[in-house]
């Protein structure tokens, strides 16, 4: 039967049918649903959230070397973290099939940069497949394992947001167990121990393998030639193929399902069959650079197709038609409308913490998670976001550069999941290299931004089974941090005092947020700690000073209406607390200077 499936779910399904035994991942948009889907639907597969993408690839490759089919999945920036493993696994090869899924995010819907992961395939000398819809996600995932075992190599499967997060029909089948026996063979050490004497012969094997894969690329049905109107031929893959096919269905196409290595004979044949060739690809001129280097004359490529952000049917149409493209009529200028950026939830523990940091005037080395939203005005209290775990390393460097001058002026913040991903080593560094930085772990008991994935600090596995729970304070102690403090971020005054003390201390400190779970994490009962369920504005007292708007709570809004307080203070308007959204966190109460925010009844 045909089912409607998200691209990510189709990848999980394909992997399951291919007989996968082990799946590991670290969450990251737009890849997170793959492992969740495996855990929820396919009990035959061992599934885990690993602390980071490198560990996920280590786990999957260990399973593969033991003969099992295995997979790791991650977003594009996760591939950077995992790349150290990938680059050498290309040398050793695998035994059971190994698929590494990497999900790109053109147009940075939810990422810190825009990378074209096809470059990893060329750089790492490994094959890469790129599906264009859910049916292909399913088929290509299955094909990955066959290619992996046939050519003894890890296989990369690349998606983009518009494929990973798009749903379409999939014709599914049955699971077939792998026939490969499980086990390890100590005699294979020359294949798996990459010391120079073993690396050199393996290096040669890689080149031989690439030649075999090139020959395979010319034969595989993953690559398809569709000869229609021969005046124009388009070479494309994945989402870009779908956009081009949508607007120019009459043209001929060479659709590349295997994007590395390229099918040289097929490309030669395509150039013979059609008059002019255009290459339409999202992000980098990856095919174009290679195809031009093969000596072909490309009619159009990146001279008209943008090399940044994502493509769309209209971008492709406009690029090719040029002046003949008729843009739709503008009825309302969208730039004149109020934007609707994401915001921290009502009651979120990050809100009072960042308000406190702002009041302290601290430069905040940030990280990646919901708390990155603290960069937005009016909170505006986060000043760097580079990569997972960066803040702790950066604050140490800045303080070493500025010396004693830096004391009291800066701090690093990162979430619990981010800390476990990449935050421990920078903390160890501060402990070891006589640092005086302060790191705050915003522990909200879950990986929030990507949609509530478990991690080593939550006490549960991906399947909800009880598990060991990391003790952040013990980690701090073990890596040489003498000053470990706890804060209740909902108490702004006390939080400011403790943070101020630690950032002024000429020693490294670790501050942990206690009892401040994510507002959306039901099992932690986040609302129970709030004594009053709702607050309201006392109109007799509100002076309309707008101080409480500074915390950017979604429950609080401004209402313009001239008036005055009971004691005759004139005001231009008042604030309003939406009772459907207020959870009673009392943050606004602490910010109000006129005691105008009072308990109310739901």
């Amino acid at each position: 039967m045909k089912e409607i499936m998200q691209g990510n779910a189709a990848i999980a399904r394909g992997a399951w049918e291919a007989g996968v035994k082990v799946a590991a991942a670290y969450p990251g948009t737009p890849s997170s649903e793959i492992l969740k889907d495996v855990a929820d639907n396919y009990p035959e597969i061992y599934a885990e959230w690993s602390p980071n993408e490198m560990v996920a690839v280590q786990v999957a490759s260990g399973a593969a070397i033991a003969g099992a089919r295995a997979m790791a999945s991650m977003k594009h920036v996760g591939m950077n973290v995992a790349s150290d493993a990938l680059m050498t696994l290309a040398y050793t090869g695998i035994k059971g099939g190994l698929m590494i899924v990497v999900a790109d995010d053109p147009n940075v819907h939810s990422s810190q940069n825009e990378q074209d992961s096809r470059n990893w395939a060329r750089f790492g000398k490994v094959p890469m497949l790129e599906p264009g819809d859910a049916q292909e996600c399913y088929e290509f995932a299955k094909a990955s394992f066959d290619i992996s075992e046939k050519f003894d190599t890890p296989v990369l499967l690349r998606t983009v947001t518009r494929i990973a997060h798009a749903d379409s029909l999939v014709q599914t089948g049955k699971r077939v167990e792998s026939k490969m026996p499980l086990g390890l063979d100590p005699k294979e050490a020359t294949k798996y121990v990459m010391v120079p004497a073993n690396v050199r012969p393996r290096r040669k094997i890689i080149e031989e393998r690439m030649r075999k894969l090139e020959a395979f690329a010319d034969k595989t049905k993953l690559n398809k030639m569709e000869i229609n109107n021969k005046s124009v031929g388009i070479i494309a893959s994945g989402a870009a193929y779908m956009y081009a096919k949508e607007v120019f269905p009459e043209y001929s196409f060479l659709k590349l399902g295997m994007v590395w290595p390229l099918p040289k004979k097929m490309i030669a044949d395509f150039f013979k069959q059609v008059k002019k060739v255009m290459i339409i690809e999202e992000l980098d001129p990856f095919f174009e650079t290679e195809i031009r280097a093969m000596g072909y004359k490309v009619f159009h490529g990146k001279d008209i197709i943008p090399n940044m952000y994502e493509l769309s049917p209209e971008i492709v149409e406009q690029a090719i038609k040029g002046k003949a493209y008729k843009a739709p009529k503008i009825r309302v200028k969208p730039e004149d409308l109020p934007r609707r950026p994401p915001n921290l939830c009502a009651g979120c523990s990050h809100r009072p913490l960042f308000y406190a940091l702002k009041k302290l005037g601290a430069f905040v080395f940030g990280d990646i998670g919901c708390y990155t939203l603290a960069v937005a005005p009016p909170i505006s209290a986060l000043h760097t976001t580079i990569c997972m775990g960066a803040g702790g390393g950066m604050v140490h460097g800045a303080m070493k550069a500025m010396g004693k001058e830096a004391l009291g002026k800066m701090v690093a913040v990162l979430g619990d999941s981010t800390f476990l991903h990449s935050g421990i080593a920078p903390l160890m560094n501060a402990g070891y290299n006589k640092g005086n930085s302060t790191t705050i772990v915003l522990d909200n008991r879950i990986t929030s931004m990507t949609g509530h994935q478990e991690h080593a600090g939550t006490g549960f596995t991906v399947r909800g089974e009880p598990a060991n729970q990391v003790d952040y304070a013990e980690i701090g102690k073990a890596v040489g941090i003498k000053n470990i403090r706890y804060i209740d971020p909902y108490n702004i005054k006390e939080t400011m005092e403790i943070v101020k003390e630690e950032i002024n201390r000429d020693e490294a400190s670790l501050i942990l947020c206690k009892d401040s779970p994510c507002m959306l994490l039901r099992r932690a009962k986040p609302l129970e700690k709030f004594k009053t369920p709702l607050f309201a504005i006392n109109m007799d007292k509100c002076r309309g000073c707008k101080m409480c708007l500074e915390i950017n709570c979604p429950a609080i809004s401004w209402r313009e209406a001239a008036g005055q307080t009971k004691d005759g203070q004139k005001r231009k308007g008042t604030v309003y607390i939406n009772p459907d959204q207020c959870v009673g966190c009392e943050v606004c109460v602490q910010v109000c200077k006129f005691d105008a925010i009072e308990p109310a009844k739901k």
């Binding site: 045909k2 409607i4 948009t29 737009p30 819907h109 939810s110 819809d133 947001t161 518009r162 494929i163 997060h165 798009a166 749903d167 379409s168 029909l169 989402a239 779908m242 956009y243 096919k245 949508e246 607007v247 269905p249 769309s312 049917p313 209209e314 149409e317 843009a327 739709p328 009529k329 503008i330 009825r331 309302v332 969208p334 409308l337 109020p338 934007r339 609707r340 950026p341 994401p342 915001n343 921290l344 939830c345 919901c370 939203l373 009016p378 931004m449 949609g451 959306l520 707008k546 708007l549 950017n552 979604p554 609080i556 809004s557 401004w558 313009e560 308007g573």
Partner: protein, 197 residues
């Protein structure tokens, strides 16, 4: 291209938490049952944090692009007034529109820096005349005793555009996608929405 081979484009827009994604999932199940190829793409990375949510929904004999070409929307189903207006340029001149009357203030409006747009309904009527249908989904859901059912009310209203699609497909889809204890409420919500337009 024959008329029945043409792909139909539905654009759904709303705010995180309004249930627009469930609505598009229902449409997915419905049009598959009706024998069409279906593709839908949503951007929901930060929807839980109060951001806007959009879904591109396409059905036809064979659908290629997962996203709708700008200006090619046949049907706009919007859950919120501002989020309707934001996509007014996407709709074809003869496109049909269902707008829910709910207003959810974005931060710049809450902070008093910008005004919530006025006359959204009038703007749409100016361009699309009788093809604009306004519905108080929240009010209808309130009468049914559950605000959460607003999304299915809107699906019910929207179903009027597709008289050839069997109502049973919608009911099947609701039953497939929702927990059994929610079936009665949502079937009622669907019917109420259908009658409201």
């Amino acid at each position: 291209m024959k008329k029945d081979e043409k792909t139909t484009n539905i654009f759904l827009s709303g705010v995180g938490g309004q249930g627009a994604i469930l609505a598009s999932n229902i449409l997915g199940e419905v049009f598959i049952r009706a024998g069409y190829d279906v593709k839908k793409a949503e951007v929901h990375g930060m929807a839980q944090r109060g951001g806007d949510v959009t879904t591109h929904f396409r059905f036809g004999k064979k659908v290629y692009s997962p996203i709708i070409k700008y200006g090619d929307v046949d049907y706009l189903l919007s859950f919120e007034l501002l989020e309707a207006l934001r996509y007014v340029n996407w709709v074809k001149p003869d496109g049909k529109i269902v707008i829910n009357t709910q207003e959810i203030l974005p931060p710049s409006v809450s902070l008093g820096q910008m005004e919530y747009p006025k006359g959204v309904e009038a703007t749409f009527k100016k361009y699309f005349k009788e093809n604009v249908h306004v519905i108080d989904g929240l009010g209808i859901a309130k009468e049914l005793g559950n605000l959460q059912a607003q999304n299915v009310v809107l699906v019910g209203a929207f179903s009027n555009f597709f008289p050839k699609i069997k109502e049973a497909y919608f009911i099947d889809a609701i039953k497939k996608l929702l927990a059994p204890k929610l079936h009665d409420l949502n079937i009622k919500a669907f019917q109420a929405g259908k009658q409201a337009l």
